[in-house]
Structures are given as C-alpha cells and as structure tokens.
Symmetry: C2
Subunit: 253 residues, 2 copies
Amino acid sequence: MQKTSYSAALVIIGNEILSGRTQDRNTSWLAEKLSERGISLREVRIIPDIEEVIVNTVNALRAQETYVFTTGGIGPTHDDITAASIAKAFGVDLELNERALQALIDHYGDPAEVTDARKKMAMIPDGASLIDNPVSGAPGFLIGNVYVMAGVPRIMQGMFDGFVHTLAEGVPIISQSITCSLQESQISEGLASIQGRFADVDIGSYPNFRGGEAGVSIVVRSIDVASVKAAGKEVINLMQSLGVEPSAVTHLD
Amino acid sequence: MQKTSYSAALVIIGNEILSGRTQDRNTSWLAEKLSERGISLREVRIIPDIEEVIVNTVNALRAQETYVFTTGGIGPTHDDITAASIAKAFGVDLELNERALQALIDHYGDPAEVTDARKKMAMIPDGASLIDNPVSGAPGFLIGNVYVMAGVPRIMQGMFDGFVHTLAEGVPIISQSITCSLQESQISEGLASIQGRFADVDIGSYPNFRGGEAGVSIVVRSIDVASVKAAGKEVINLMQSLGVEPSAVTHLD
C-alpha cells in the first residue's frame, strides 16, 4: 500500500453493524475523501458499544496514526456511550459543554426543547473542541488527534466536510484502473514483473465474475503521476501481448 | 451487546476496501449468518495487504475469539499474500498442497492448465485443512481456529456455506425491530428505563432521517425469546404513551 506522509484509522462504533442489521457506508466515503486529501486510511475497526473495547481500540490507534476518526454512539440514548468512553480513553472528565448546549438550543429553537435527554448530547470530554453538525444540531468533537463523529452517513459527511480543510494535506494518491476479460492467473506473472520494476507504484489485482465470466481489474496507484502512467501503459501492453484489449481504462486527472 | 457462548472476529484483507474503490459486502452477510448460528461477531478489522499487519492482527484476534474468519488475498497475483502471512502467524511453512493442486486440476479440467501462476493458489500452510471453493476451484483453508476465505463475495459465501455446519452452534440471538416517527431524544429516558429492567436484553436505538423526517428504530435483542417479547411490548407501550403508533414491527419467528 502506498505510503503518504499522513495516516488515519477509522473506528466504527456500533452493534448494528456487527449484527448485520446495518450495512456500513461510512468506510468507502471516508476512504475516498481521505485519499483525495493525501491521507492514507490504514485500518478500519468495527467494534461494539462496549466501553472497554472503545477505550482500548482508540488508545491503540491514536498512538499509531496521524488521525483517528470515529463514527457512531453520540446520540441521546442509553446505548450512546462514545463520548464517555473517549473521555475515559484520554483520562479526562465528561462535562456539560456550554457551546454544545448553545448549538442544541439554536437547533431546536427554544431552550425548553433541550430536555435532559437532549442535554446528554452536550456532554463533551473536557478539553475537546466541537465539530459542527449542520444536519441535526448535536456536535461531534475533536480531542487530541481523535475526531468523534455521528454514525448516520449524512451527518457524518456534513461534519467531515466542515473540518476537512483543517487536516494536514499530504500528496494525493493518483490511481488508474484497467479492466479486461483475462483471468487473474493469466496475467499474474507479467504483473509481478511490472510491480518489480516500479518500486514507487502499488499494483492491485481484483478479479470479478460478472455474469459468470471471469475478468480482472488492475489498479495502479502512486503519488507520482508519471509512474502511474508508465506502469499503466505496461499493464495495457501486457494485456495486448496476451491478445486482449482492455475493456475499460480510467482517465488520470 | 448480547453474549452467546461463541465469538468471532472478521479480518478483511485488502487495499481496495481501504482505498474506497470497493464497498465491503462481506461483513453484513457473515454477521447475519454467524448470528443465525449463535456466534457473536465481536469485531471486524479491515487491514491492508501488508504481511506484518496481517500476522499481528490474526495473532491478536485468534487468541481472543472462538473463531477468526479472513477474506481476501488468496488469489494468484503478487498482491495475494494472505496464505504466506497466515503461515508466518502460525510459525509453519507454506507448502504445495497435493489436494489443493488436485482441486485446481479438477476445476481447470487439464493439468497443463494449472500453470505456475495458478499453482500459487495451492500453496497452503503446513497442517491446514482445505475449504472447498465451489465457484472457482482454488480452495481456502482452516488452520487452528482461523478460516481463510476468498474476498469475492460469491466465492466467500460458497466457502462459508460449505463448512458452516462444522462450526459450534450457540444459542441464536432473537431480535425484534420497532420503528416509529418519534425522535430518539423523545424516547431515550423511557428506553433507558426499559433497558434497566431487562438485564438479559440488549436495546439499541438507531435514528434515521428518511426524506428529512426524523424517525427511530428500536432493536431489542436477546437469546431469550420471552424477554424479547416482553421488552418489545414495553417499547411499543412507550411509543403509544407518547401518542405515536409504531410504523413497523418485525415478527418474531
């Protein structure tokens, strides 16, 4: 996997993903956004709503990566334990945050609407800064290098789009995907040879079986656009040398 | 999260998920199948094709859970390093497995078709037993408590369906989902009270914002069907006490 200067891990907190009830849609969205920013997503962990697991997972990953992003568990119900768990991970108190409370009052339009249940969403670890929620009021927060976001995709995306410009900007990874009707095993030797000649390029091979017919997509990735072009050209030559034209080649922008 | 007697972790190996190119579809499918078998999926990790990461991840999880399932990285190309990494994790050699080789010959119909590239898919850790691949020939394998499967969903599913009857059978989790048009924060106190009275039930609350309207699904889960029924009835009563009829209630089978 290509290394950029900055790395990230994503922690998806929620029993509903582990039970199969809910299909995770946050990983692929965040992965693309981070890639555009030149930040490598190096690991994703999907974990249950259990305090000890959240604490251990976040503490392990925040020591390893530039950024940790979490999604899920910051709502008003009893099973929303992310904020309290993150406070524990950092060894700080969970406190009623006045700015978070004001954000809720602004959202609901009336202080009386901010019931005790809703006030739970203004309980934020001491020392954290808030992440705006443009959709449903209740903020996320940033503490250390850990960004705590909602799990609902639309809210998570709104939060991320609001702070992405504050993240470090690495060299974005350029990629090109080349698809053909060969089987993986027909081009594996040639591919390994190309990989051997391009140390700064990451060549991935992804088989598919659409309509029962075997095919393969080769993805060439690098921070260096010239290397992607050169390696991509060799992949196309390899396919042609085996008598097959690529059925799809993505453009480099 | 409800505990059953048996637990599992899933390790998804593949740069294509971490780059955002491919949407993972294996987690939700496996989560449901494991749940039906009474095995709790306790953690999912999505990791890159890097030997050290695969070794460390698998070794950490196989010590913690009844079963570890891996998907991805067992094809014929240079980026398929799962079998070698698992061998390293167990401290055994990777060897040409005669039965795996025969499976490939049977699949391709001619020994001459099993090229050196394809023979890579018959390299299996010493001491592992094979997992049949009903789709594309190349087998997965089982070593210790680690089941190594293909990443392509259709192949992974075929492999899993072939060995699921050999897994330990726990008490399956029964669940009921109750949806209404209330906001989460309107029922959070009542829900916490119900949760407090049902120690053997796991009550999850999942907000949605379909068409801009807030709603919530409450999921009641337990290994005890009577407890699910009793807690579910209280959740319905709670919604009705707030003037709202549930818009959907799943049946218990």
